[in-house]
Amino acid sequence: MSKVVENVTCTFCGCLCDDIKVEIDDNRIISVHQVCSNGRGLFTEYDPTPRQPTVAGREVDWETAVKEAARILSEADSPLIYGLSSTAVEAQRKSVELADLLGAIIDTTSSVCHGPTGLAMQAVGEVSCTLGEVRNRADFLLFWGCNPAASHLRHFTRYSLMSKGILTPNGRRDRIAYVVDVRPTTSAKVADHFIQVKPDTDFEVLTSLRALVQGKEIENEDLGGVPIAQLRELAERMKSCRFGVAFMGMGLTMSRARNYNVRELFTLVAELNQYTRFSVIPMRGHGNVAGADQVLTWQSGYPYAVSFARGYPQYGPGEFTAVDVLAREEADAALIFASDPVAHFPGAASKQLERIPTIVLDPMTNLTERMADVVFPTTCYGLDAAGTSYRMDNVPIRLRPPLHAKRPTDEDVLIQIIEAIKQC
């Protein structure tokens, strides 16, 4: 007999839409409503069928797998724990406890995503707001180096460009939107203005915008391939809006100046508050990478790139970040969960995962699993396990799973591994 579960939260991306309707029958999802194609993929492709964990590719019972994982980690001199972003807070908390116990390095997917954004925030601060302020107040939107039409598919309708709110009853018509990118994206097509910058010139363009906002004269005819008149117009529009919001993404964090690009944008936004109200919201990618930042920060003081090797937390972007640790062969064991580094890391780093004993926890098969020594098939938080996830604007949302769990959660497995290590 089928039933409908309402107000389900989709955990695919940082939008964390919590208005999803799911129809289930006999613990299988039949249909999903109000969801984007990414969310639909998450809900409809998920198979909650219990699977056995494996050691060296062979199915074993849970106790054996836990013992082997505990042995690998406690015998390692320099274990690395990586991932954390597509799982709930409950599991993230346990993973930091495990890292503390082991004296491990622990890093999240932030290091290859918004890590530079965190560095910028630590340097110059961040003027931000929750997504409801965008819905209700924002009459000016600036999308810089991000493409919500490809990555956060309901962002425009639910929160930003099209949403209707208290001061924005006409939705799209009450807003002006700019997209700044190195190439015209699908997001650019629905904006009012598209500014194309040459690759690796965001820093100069942002610094010039700061100067123009402060009323300084610029002698160049163009910067980063953008005519100065266009930049001047953008500066004026930003200063004269009622409530402006910038969204930024990998276009800034992944190109040459990385955190310096983001610093420049964050400083521009802070300075605009001398003239009007302006905020910036980083487009956090994974469903709970914001939660990973929060949990690692509240337990250790630092959001990513943490080493507990000295018995206390140390912060080292570039030193304790996973790509660097793996590429320099400084980890001799790894526990990977809620991420797929073999799919997303540079070749040299992912090759190291093949060479060292690796433990993987994941609800779905992924590329990292193929080279893992121990694999735990766990639940998918939000689908068949309850927990909390943090939206891109750091609002925590309780997950309401439509399915019953038939597998252990990431939290369950981590607790068992911790207990087993304490007895080693």
Binding site: G41, N147, V182, R183, P184, M250, M254, R258, T365
Partner: protein
């Protein structure tokens, strides 16, 4: 014939759709094993849609089909995934972040 290009990697709808089907699926492999180049560059270099090109970086090289895309000249886009990552080096300038966008690569016809 070898020419320098700026490599940009990133998400696409097809890559995400393939991801849902499973990273071992054919859909994912196809979605992440392709390159996009501007129509101007493709015309100038007489490259046909679907032709195989070789991209080389300091790290490694890959061979993949190329198609026309909305890009400025001098730029090549490859969706994020294992093929793109074969080209990306692990130098992070002390931040943890590799050069996923803006890497200089050499393009030659395969």
């Amino acid at each position: 014939m070898t020419e320098s290009f700026t490599l940009i990697t990133g998400r696409t709808r097809e890559q995400a759709d393939g991801l849902h089907k499973g990273k071992d699926s054919e859909a994912y492999r196809i979605a992440t094993t392709l390159a996009e180049m501007s129509p101007e560059d493709m015309n100038r270099l007489a490259i046909k849609d679907g032709q195989i090109i070789r991209l080389k970086s300091a790290a490694h090289f890959v061979e993949l089909p190329v198609r026309s895309g909305t890009l400025p000249p001098g730029m090549i886009f490859v969706p994020m995934g294992p093929v793109a990552n074969a080209l990306i080096g692990s130098e992070t300038a002390g931040t943890g972040m590799p050069s996923f966008k803006g890497l200089k690569v050499e393009m030659e016809l395969a």
